[in-house]
């Protein structure tokens, strides 16, 4: 209870924890997958699991855009920087992700490639304006929250006729990934993960609304609660999921009404559909090929599409064999099940992508969970 006790809403947290304990049926077990890395982070940081009865479990899902990008796409980005000599702009989280042969963008940069970390697509555009004789490529990754800013950048580049700017687009969609986790045949190879409900992405839903999840609540008969990132949001959402499971309901409920509406941010959605279209399929690290799960740039913007402007030769991706990221991203295994966890693979020298981003399950285990799992007393010392 330590963390939540110190938190200013401790009375409320206690009330919610008591309600969860009272309403969770001791004859059942509850497995809830949190899709967002933000939730994974909150659950570990505040020790939310410690406040749950023993039969309520969190399954950590694939919701970190850095963790799900396949190695081949990262290798492509490295190739753009090294072989074509472009100025490659990307968000900070991508820099340390190891590609084939442990090659990352930060290593490419150390070896002389022009890789620049940007905070915003606006920075990438500025770099293009300031370097008219160089090609500037923005390496775009992310879910529905980061996609609209990329759309704005493409429209700006078009309006300004920026001849030296393009986007290497790797934007992916959360609803199709969730459906895929529930229905894909590969699940059989990796083992079946029991999921009784989902904590739905919150900031993603602020853009796309809660409505897109209704389809699969109905189709797959799983309850979904759109949950905010505060620990109390997570707890309240768990309570709402338990109630749905107990009642046999499968609905999309919105715990995060203070930010998320049913229809989301329509202006952002309109921009995204103007600039992007669905890809027939896209490879996700850990999930394999997922149909209609990613976006590509429409033909109208072909001049600004790095995939059309450069010939990228990397095809097959090589993941490190013993890295268990694929099973971890599906919630089939825990980070501590991986042989490399904490020995060869640490946040300082990550082997797989789940260890790179602070939203990845392995990194969260390393930072918080391993103390809890092994030596509970150290948890306090660590804070």
């Amino acid at each position: 209870m330590k963390y939540v006790d110190e938190y200013r809403d401790r009375d409320l947290a206690r009330t919610v924890a008591a309600a969860i304990a009272a309403e969770a049926d001791p004859d059942r077990s509850y497995h809830f997958m949190e899709f967002c890395g933000g939730h994974t982070h909150a659950i570990f940081r505040y020790g939310v699991q410690d406040l749950m009865p023993e039969n309520v479990h969190f399954v950590h899902g694939p919701g970190c855009p850095v963790c799900v990008l396949p190695v081949a796409r990262l290798d492509d980005a490295v190739e753009l920087a090294e072989r074509y000599g472009v100025i490659l702009c990307t968000y900070g989280d991508m820099m340390r992700v190891p590609g084939t042969k442990q090659r990352s963008l930060i290593r490419a940069k150390a070896d002389g490639a022009d890789v620049r970390m940007v905070y915003s697509t606006a920075d990438a555009l500025r770099i293009a304006r300031e370097n008219p004789d160089r090609q500037v490529v923005f390496f775009a990754i992310g879910f529905e929250t980061t996609t609209p800013p990329t759309a704005v950048a493409l429209k700006t580049a078009e309006a300004e006729k920026l001849g030296n700017f393009s986007v290497f687009c790797n934007h992916v969609l959360t609803p199709s990934a969730i459906s895929h986790i529930l229905e894909s045949p590969e699940v059989r190879d990796l083992g079946i993960v029991k999921i009784d409900g989902f904590l739905g992405p919150s900031h993603v839903s602020s853009v796309i609304g809660s409505q897109p999840y209704e389809f699969f609540a109905e189709e797959f008969q799983k309850p979904v609660v759109i949950a905010g990132f505060e620990p109390l949001d997570v707890m309240q959402s768990v309570l709402m999921l338990i109630r749905q499971v107990n009642d046999g309901r499968c609905e999309v409920e919105n715990e995060y009404t203070r930010v998320v509406t049913e229809e989301g941010n329509v202006k952002a959605q309109t921009l995204v559909s103007e600039v992007f279209e669905l890809r027939k399929s896209f490879d996700w690290r850990g999930l394999g090929t997922v149909p209609y799960s990613a976006l590509r740039i429409r033909d109208r913007f072909a001049k600004f599409d790095a995939e059309k402007q450069f010939e990228l030769s990397v095809k097959a991706s090589r993941e490190v064999k013993s890295c268990e990221c694929p099973s971890i991203l599906r919630g089939v295994k825990k980070p501590t099940d991986c042989k490399l966890f904490g020995t060869v693979c640490t946040p300082q020298s990550p082997v797989g992508s789940c260890m790179v981003s602070s939203e990845g399950a392995c990194a969260a285990y390393w930072t918080y969970g391993r103390f809890r799992d092994q030596q509970p007393s150290k948890l306090e010392a660590a804070e």
């Binding site: 900070g92 606006a122 879910f143 800013p149 602020s206 930010v259």
Partner: protein
């Protein structure tokens, strides 16, 4: 990288650009994805873009939580980098 931080709009510039205040850090961000933003409003900012407006209470709640968790400092370092 999916976190978004609430910030107060302190200045409106041309081309949908605004100056917002995160704690003590000031930063130019884009308002291209939101409508009818006025000085004093709070917006949720993600990778340099306002995703939508939020109420003062929501902003304070979120900022308080992020500050206590130490997340705010990390995020602000990234922003001002």
């Amino acid at each position: 990288m999916c976190l978004a931080i609430p910030a107060r709009v302190v200045e409106l510039l041309d081309n949908d650009v605004a100056v917002v205040a995160f704690d003590t850090v000031r930063k130019r961000i884009s308002l291209a994805l939101v409508e009818d933003v006025a000085i004093g409003d709070f917006v949720l900012v993600h990778v340099g873009y306002a995703l939508h407006k939020v109420s003062v209470e929501e902003a304070e709640r979120t900022l308080g939580m992020m500050a206590e968790a130490g997340v705010l400092r990390e995020e602000l370092e990234e922003i001002s980098a």
